[in-house]
């Protein structure tokens, strides 16, 4: 067993797939940053709001006012450097830190694919992605034909986890037996040409989409790994992501997944891509570069340890929800960072009552005085948002001179087409509750059963 592992870790493979992956990743990230910027979201999401929702433990991450633009510029520039392979290690570390910092500034915009970018860029810090067809290789007059096989496999494994866990999460009774939430979402796409007024409205189609979506997520990594099914599987990848992009506002995610899936192809394919790019930029290949056979890490043991730990965490984190009582979809305790994508149509209405603990006099807060519509929407059905906002309100009104401030929430939430019901215990003074990883017992029980993962 041990020898197999040692042997595996010593196996090498062609560098090209990782080099192409680096270029694709860098360019897509550059484009993502430009797109985000041009839509004005830096302003509306990070600069204009008075208040930002923070991840537990990362309350110290502050927005930077107008310097937020600088942060995005740095992030975009590092993406470009990653693509051209210029000072790669520095660039990918800068990218990881700046991108993750951006995501930590406000959890309102949490998306699984942003999290994916963060952890993928973390992994890329340790991979020799600049050893071929990069400015670094060109400047050092040295490139490597082969690298340890596990480096490329680690990216494949991460993609495997993303898809497979997303598939596991779809093994639940709402998704499979009620076709929820697709039954709500698909009929509303009635504007689509040809299929909008026909397929999208069919009950059987909602079920077909639910089941095939589940099967796709669970099986696609295997079909991509297996050489004989790879090309067909890739076509499925393209079709699936294009189709979901047409249906849902999912931004850059489909592009990221399509380009990432190219890593499953053989080196020959990637070498051809490199050759094609070389033809366009002929001047770069003008000078002879020393081609070395195999790249070897200087501190391979340390790096293997870090990458190993990284994957153990990735495998374990999505299952942390098992440590909490109650329905996961309702409490969302352990919901994020688990590749639970498109599983819920959840909306809420949550209003806050500021009570003077002595006189019992009270008034309600107008949420739009403090939150953007997007923040209010996200806050309304996620308990950690509710608690954080309750504390913000408590502090705000205390500072204004209100006495014995208590904060209560009146909250109703509807999940996957069920009638809305009370969400937060109205008798609990949230201002006295502390955020922690413990179960929030002031979230009222769901009183329904969603079976499965």
């Amino acid at each position: 067993m041990k020898s197999t592992l040692t042997k595996y870790l010593k196996t090498t493979t062609n560098t090209a797939p990782l080099a192409v992956f680096r270029i694709g990743f860098g360019l897509l990230m550059l484009f993502s940053i430009i797109r985000f910027w041009s839509k004005g979201w830096i302003e509306t999401i990070y600069i204009l709001p008075d208040f930002h929702f923070k991840y537990y433990g990362f309350e110290w991450v502050q927005t930077l006012g107008d310097y937020t633009y600088l942060l995005f510029f740095i992030c975009g520039l590092s993406s470009f450097f990653i693509a051209i392979g210029f000072k790669y290690r520095m660039a990918i570390i800068t990218f990881f830190l700046s991108f993750t910092y951006i995501e930590l500034m406000d959890k309102t915009t949490y998306l699984n694919h942003y999290y994916f970018i963060s952890i993928l860029s973390f992994l890329l810090i340790f991979l020799p992605a600049e050893k071929q067809f990069s400015l670094d290789a060109y400047r050092s007059r040295k490139q490597y034909k082969n690298i340890p096989k596990w480096t490329i496999d680690s990216i494949k494994f991460l993609l495997f986890i993303v898809y497979f866990y997303a598939g596991l999460a779809k093994l639940n009774s709402d998704w499979l037996l009620k076709a929820m939430p697709l039954k709500i979402w698909l009929p509303s796409k009635y504007d689509l040409p040809l299929i909008g007024e026909s397929l999208m409205q069919q009950n059987w189609f909602h079920y077909a989409m639910s089941w095939s979506g589940m099967l796709y997520d669970l099986l696609i990594p295997f079909f991509l790994l297996y050489r004989k099914t790879r090309v067909v599987a890739f076509m499925f990848v393209v079709f699936f992501h294009v189709f979901t992009r047409v249906l849902f506002p999912i931004g850059m995610f489909p592009f990221v997944m399509i380009v990432s899936a190219l890593i499953f192809f053989d080196a020959g394919f990637h070498n051809k891509i490199i050759d094609n790019i070389k033809k366009v930029f002929r001047s770069f290949s003008a000078e002879a570069i020393e081609v070395k056979e195999v790249f070897q890490f200087k501190r391979e043991k340390l790096i293997l340890l870090i990458v190993g730990l990284f994957f153990i965490l990735q495998l374990a984190i999505p299952f942390r929800y098992l440590l909490y009582p109650g329905e996961l979809f309702w409490t969302e305790e352990g919901y994020r960072f688990s590749w639970r994508v498109m599983l819920m149509e959840k909306m809420g209405s949550t209003n806050f009552k500021i009570v003077n603990g002595e006189t019992k006099a009270f008034f309600y807060v107008n949420n739009s005085d403090f939150l953007t519509p997007l923040q209010e929407k996200q806050m309304s059905f996620q308990p950690d948002f509710v608690l954080e906002y309750a504390h913000f309100l408590g502090n705000h009104f205390k500072k204004q001179g209100h006495k014995s401030v208590e904060v209560y929430a009146k909250s109703y939430v509807a999940l996957n087409g069920r009638l809305s019901k009370p969400f937060i215990n109205e008798a609990v003074n949230l201002y006295a509750e502390k955020e922690s990883f413990k179960h929030k017992n002031w979230v009222l029980p769901f009183n329904d059963d969603i079976k499965g993962f």
Binding site: S188, Y190, S198, R245, F269, S349, A414, L419
Partner: protein, 368 residues
Amino acid sequence: MIKKILSIAIITLIILGCSKSDDGGGNDSNGNNDDTYNRAALLTNMADQIIIPAYQDLNTKLLDLVSAKNDFLTTANQTNLEQLRTAWFNAYKTWQYVELFNIGKAEEILYGFRMNVYPTTVSDIEANIASGNYDLNSVNNNDAVGFPALDYLLFGIESDDANILNLYSSPNYKNYLSDVVDQMQSLTNIVLQDWINSYRDTFISSTENTASSALNKFVNDFIFYFEKGLRANKIGIPAGVFSTTPLPEKVEAFYSKNKSKELTSISLQAVKDLFNGKSYNSNTTGESFESYLQFLGRDDLAQVINSRLDDAQQKIQLLSDNLSNQVTTDNSKMTQTYDALQLAVVSFKVDMLQAFNVSVDYVDADGD
């Protein structure tokens, strides 16, 4: 193989690129088969059976108001004052059926803000009258015109009727009263004519699921009105729900004293009629939010909404005719009414929006 894959990738990019431009297109006014809900029929019922008839009725009532006003200005006596007040109240009641349609021309000319901003600002009115020089179309005068201004001019401007009649011998008072009434009628006529002559057709054909389509705006505006115009303005704010102390002077029709409950009750009835697609002029019902919910298999929700609206109506019926008095004597009945209305807000804003899955106009970010 590489060519194959690259061509797939290129086709993908093209499809992705094009899919964006489809967002605004695609009318489905003839999407009439059994699989799909006919949204054009819903909007047509709204326009032809509810919105336009309500505007027509309001216009008629305002023409009555204009003539009652003219009679009063010719002969300022008690009888004519009473008739003017009655005409005002009749129009105000009909207004409750119109206030929720802040779409099309009404939205463009800020119609609602020029008809019913309350509390009215007495100092602005008095200043306008004193100077005799004012622009009622100015945004600054939104709180000095419309129904609330007339409420003050006809009921609150002096302590008793004899003194009120006295005032209207002065040309400045006469002119101001006349200008306010005439403007209300002319604004209403502008909106009505626009509905009849052009906006109706735009409205009923704009059924796409986009943030700017008439259907989605209509749904969003309806909910916004219920939450803000009805729940907050008519009940919540006077009851002090959003302030540290109750604000009894902020009720609708404050100066005429015993009209506010009836106006609120009618506005809730208007909401319920619209939800159920009940014609303005008869008891027949047509396609509506209710029937759309039923089509989506959400009879449960349609029932909950109707019963919550009924509950709220019952709570309103328990209130004093003068909501201002209710606030000062037993505010708990007001806050109970507010709570009942809030439950209906939840049903509309959370459940109904979720069921319709309309694209909302205010959230702009990616999902995943």
